[in-house]
Amino acid sequence: MIELASINRNFEVGEETVHALRDINLNIEAGEYISIMGPSGSGKSTLLNILGLLDQPNSGSYRFNDQAVNQLADEEQARVRLEYIGFVFQFFHLIPRLSATDNVALPLTLAGVDPEIRKQKAALAMQALGIADRAQHRPDQLSGGQRQRVAIARAMITEPQLILADEPTGNLDRASGADVIEALEELNQKGITLIVVTHDPELGQRARRRLSMDDGKIIGDLSP
């Protein structure tokens, strides 16, 4: 599903050039469950952003479903994100003035889907994540775990092929973190490819394939 070849990503910080990613080669099959671990600054978030088409590599090729997506125009990349990729962020990124339902349905709203269908799909997604009773609450009326589940519901509502989660439990206590991970793993069991970036070794060990990164390079790729 995903083929990365010789990906490089550099940042200019003042006079210095920081090599966030050095010559990354990576193949990912549909349905995989992958964790990416490594110390801060190892490039794992940058890798995730490039996988999610939120960032562009300086060089290299990125093929998604046999399409060279890093050469697409902005609009077409937006289309790929909308149709195939769901995001779960550490800081939830919910829109504070919208209800849980409206936050969940936001990708469909942006895509111009009929309001009735939006409502149904949002209700189903929230039911699957056990937050149906919070449908009309605004984010500031929800707990951290509930917020992250709203975010997961939003990521899955477009039925994506790939879910990218950047430290999804980083802002949660242990119990709600476990809930969130279970919800993500359930999606993986339904065939959605799941990639989780994390600091937490315990969380990392749950994935079937574990990548370790350091200094912009993949230094370990275990599939026990």
Binding site: L54, R79, I95, L106, P107
Partner: protein, 403 residues
Amino acid sequence: MMRLADVFRYSLQAMLGHRGRSLLILLAMAIGVAAVVVLTALGEGARLYVLKQFTTLGSHLVIVLPGRSETSGGPPPMLGETPRDLTLDDALALYQSHAVGKVAPVVIGSAPVSWQAREREVLVLGTTAEMEQVRQLKLARGKFIDSNNPHRGAAVCVIGHTLRKELFGNQQALGQWLRIGERRFRVIGELAQQGHSLGTDIGDLIIIPVASAQALFNTESLFRILIQAKGRDSITAAMQAAEAIISKRHDGENDITVITQDSILATFDRIFTALTFAVAAIAAISLAVAGILIMNVMLIAISQRTAEIGLLKALGAPDIEIMLLFMAEAGLLSLCGGLAGLGLGMGSSFLLDQAFADFSIAAPAWASLGALSTALLTGIIFGYIPAHRAARLKPVEALTRRR
């Protein structure tokens, strides 16, 4: 692509989610629009006031002046042309035309008017009974000079309101004999208080039969002739008839000037309309200022909401959709501000209208609509730059930037 209804719902929620900012924009827009509405209402009020003043002169009025005051580029006459005076017979001859309804000859002069020990220098107007209708004069007491043979001057007079008070005080004026110059006249009527009519104080005036005035000022000639045409349609016919009849009586020489009330009216109308436009344009500057404020506030909004913009991009919103969302927000803000301003402007126009009774103040529809659409347009134009900046943000930078 996002549905239009959703675009507006989203923008409306964004607007309501940032009350302070929205109120600020609303206020600026409202003041701008209200300024346009109130100032044009005042300009329009002034225009209507002047038009009203003219119509109190009487309707369908045609005025005949002696002498030719026209700058048409014809060759000068071969013989020295001295304009003939207008005479009373000239005036009466005008009745030959069917277009002419009423004719009121006018002789004007100034003479000392006295009663007992009191004396004042007053404007004396010699005319006929028709004047009452032509100039729409109203009587407080008594009657107007009668319509007997205009060549015979009766020794009667009608006095203005102010003059009556100053000469007679609280005493009965009707039936009294007063003195104009060396002649004696009996007061048969008093004019009602009508205020000014284009500079002439109708209160400070004395009206006598035209023949008496001619005798008093020792002149045959008329100051002017006022004609009331039969109707609005016959004004032109009455003008042509006046020129034809009088030129025939003056040996074929066209030595009079005929003007209509409408032509004077049209001139004033143009002047005041231009004035109203100018004032509206000045007020529109405040709309531009409001537009700049919108731009600033929207730029601040975008820096506050970079994470939201990043999220929308991550969720698959193309750049154009993000532009649309922010432009819609700016447009919606300025529209609401415009509507509030319209309400404010119309409210204050109404209050002003109530405060100045004889001055009707109401903004014309074009001004209200113009102000509203200018407000909307400035919102959209000045919303463009911030919206463009929002759309160009890189998703990863927008997402990772923390507040």
